[in-house]
């Protein structure tokens, strides 16, 4: 499809690079993001890439909507064929079930599987990060097997601890910060996805491949103790 532009209020413009979620469009999104990052037009304030769009926030005192649109069109002609960076593979250790993953049994029963089978399926998926958004460092992850899909809870939990791994419908994800939410919770990782003290505060970025690796409760607690020691 052709690239579409539309206003998001009086200080942002949305570049729409496709109308369905697929690898090709996601690559386009990443290329546009990389181009904006390297060019930094003076009127640009910041940008937010998503599944098929990049929203560019700008200062209307420096350029109005039509000017921004024209300049972006011009900029987009300079997209290269090469991907701006290599895809990384990040391993996320997870302790499944028990008090760290209270809904593991539910997910198993819902899919007529054993808890063991759910873990085996969850750790063998071919996952990639579509986008980061919604919450600080929160990855929208694609690639989960439909064999372990599970509906959201009827009534959301008021507090889900940070670093909890969950399933909602066909999606799996990790909550970087404590939030309310309706996901089925299957485990927790000792590693942090939101790193506010870092220049790049998100552990993951769009395009990353993810491997979930099962760890024992002892390994989890040893890891978490290290984390706490680091923070104190």
């Amino acid at each position: 499809m052709n690239t579409l532009f539309s206003p998001l209020g009086d200080q942002a413009i949305v570049i729409e690079l496709g109308n369905e979620i697929n690898d090709q469009t996601e690559q386009q999104v990443r290329k546009v993001a990389a181009l904006l990052e390297s060019r930094q037009p003076e009127w640009m304030v910041e940008f937010i890439p998503a599944f098929v769009t990049v929203a560019v926030f700008y200062n209307p005192c420096l350029a109005k909507y039509d000017d921004v649109k024209m300049e972006l069109k011009e900029l987009l002609t300079q997209l290269t064929e090469d991907l701006p960076f290599e895809s990384r593979t990040i391993e996320i250790p997870v302790c499944y079930g028990g008090e760290l993953g209270p809904d593991l049994e539910f997910v198993a029963q819902h899919n007529k599987l054993t808890a063991r089978e759910v873990i085996d399926i969850h750790t063998s998926g071919n996952y990639s990060v579509h986008m980061i958004g919604f919450a600080p460092g929160f990855p929208f992850i694609g690639g989960m097997s439909e064999k372990i899909a599970a509906p959201r809870r009827d009534s959301p939990r008021l507090r889900i601890p940070e670093r909890t791994v969950g399933i909602a419908g066909m999606q799996t994800g990790v909550y970087p910060i404590e939030t309310p939410g309706g996901w089925q919770l299957i485990g927790r990782t000792p590693i942090r996805l939101f790193l506010p003290e870092n220049d790049i505060p998100s552990l993951l970025r769009a395009g990353d491949k993810i491997i979930f690796k099962e760890i024992s409760k002892e390994e989890y607690h040893a890891w978490e103790d290290d984390l706490n020691a680091e923070n104190s």
Binding site: G9, V14, I48, F51, T53, F134, A135, P201
Partner: protein, 326 residues
């Protein structure tokens, strides 16, 4: 230093927000009423980007442990200094030991306290704003509580001179207070998905009054009124949202996204509040009616540029005043 003697409902350190980190999913935060915050800073001789205290509805009791120059702008929460009413939208020199209190919220919901030198908490990701939900930024990542001692930055030379000015009449002419209305008419640009809504909804959003519901906070205001629906229900692909986006979830009650909004969302956006009218929504209280009126993108940007020019004039006028004191 500002010593918090009583906490009030919710007072937090805010500035113009965490810019440039939304691509990592980091919530922008920052003041709900950017205009009042900026003017308050300018009145004290601060750069408009310094942090202020955002005081919500029921104000705290604050004692000044040093001489200070302050300004209060935004919602009128009946501020008093040592039991005497004080004026808002002007510079006020304060003596060490004085106590600032607040009373009945008269009009508006949020008052900004700027102090010459700025609220001096550590910057995180380029901003001093508090993001309450993640417990980061601002003063220990949280709203101020009894016993807190909030640091103030150093005043510059001109600001120090302001301490010794008799400002009784001096600044009355300077900043005409913004009027926050009991039933504000808020200008809104049609959203990207406006045309996906059915005919009734497209009419009602601009003709009906909506009420700010009880589940409204810095993240967003849930509105109650005529329910809005799409012509054909469709699943949208999540994309960026902005300060003032008006999105409509399946239950049909619009939500206005505000300072602590998430970075992306998947609900259809019926509109986007014009930047210059963000203070009107930010100052609306729970239970208060609001109305929307259409504005074109071109007109909204024209108003925004006008407002920036006005702010530059205010800044220049204050600098002139300060230089007269030397």
């Amino acid at each position: 230093m500002l010593k918090i003697l009583k906490s009030g409902l919710q007072t937090s350190v805010q500035d113009l927000g965490r810019v440039g980190f939304q691509k990592y999913g980091v919530i922008a935060s920052g003041v709900m009423d950017p205009f009042a915050h900026r003017i308050a800073n300018l009145l004290t001789g601060n750069d408009e980007r310094l942090a202020t205290l955002e005081i919500t509805l029921v104000g705290p009791t604050i004692q000044f442990t040093e001489d200070a120059v302050i300004a209060l702008c935004g919602g009128d929460l009946s501020p008093q200094l040592d039991d005497n009413d004080i004026k808002m939208w002007r510079m006020l020199p304060i003596k060490k030991g004085s106590t600032l209190t607040f009373g009945e919220p008269r009009i508006g919901a949020r008052c900004y306290l700027a102090v010459a030198g700025g609220i001096d908490v550590t910057e995180l990701m380029g901003s001093r704003s508090t993001y309450l939900r993640a417990g980061i930024g601002g003063f220990q990542g949280r709203a101020l509580a009894k016993g807190d001692e909030v640091p103030i930055g150093e005043m510059d030379l001109l600001q120090t001179k302001a301490l010794h000015q008799n400002t009784e009449n001096e600044f009355d002419w300077l900043i005409p207070p913004v009027r926050y209305y009991e039933e504000p008419i808020i200008r809104m640009i049609k959203g990207k998905q406006f045309d996906l809504f059915d005919e009734d909804s497209k009419r009602q959003i601009f003709s009906e009054a909506y009420t700010v519901s009880a589940s409204s906070d810095r993240m967003g205001y849930r509105l109650e009124g005529a329910r809005l629906s799409l012509e054909n229900s469709t699943e949208l692909i999540s994309e960026a949202v902005a300060f003032g986006s008006v999105q409509v979830p399946a239950d049909g009650n619009p939500i206005v996204l505000l300072a602590d909004r998430q970075t992306t969302g998947g609900y259809p956006k019926i509109g986007q509040i014009a930047f210059v009218d963000l203070p009107l929504i930010a100052q609306a209280k729970q239970g208060q009616p609001i109305r929307f009126k259409e504005i074109s993108l071109l007109e909204a940007q024209r108003r925004l540029i006008e407002q920036e020019q006005y702010i530059r004039q205010v800044k220049a006028a204050i600098q002139l005043k300060q230089e007269e004191w030397t």
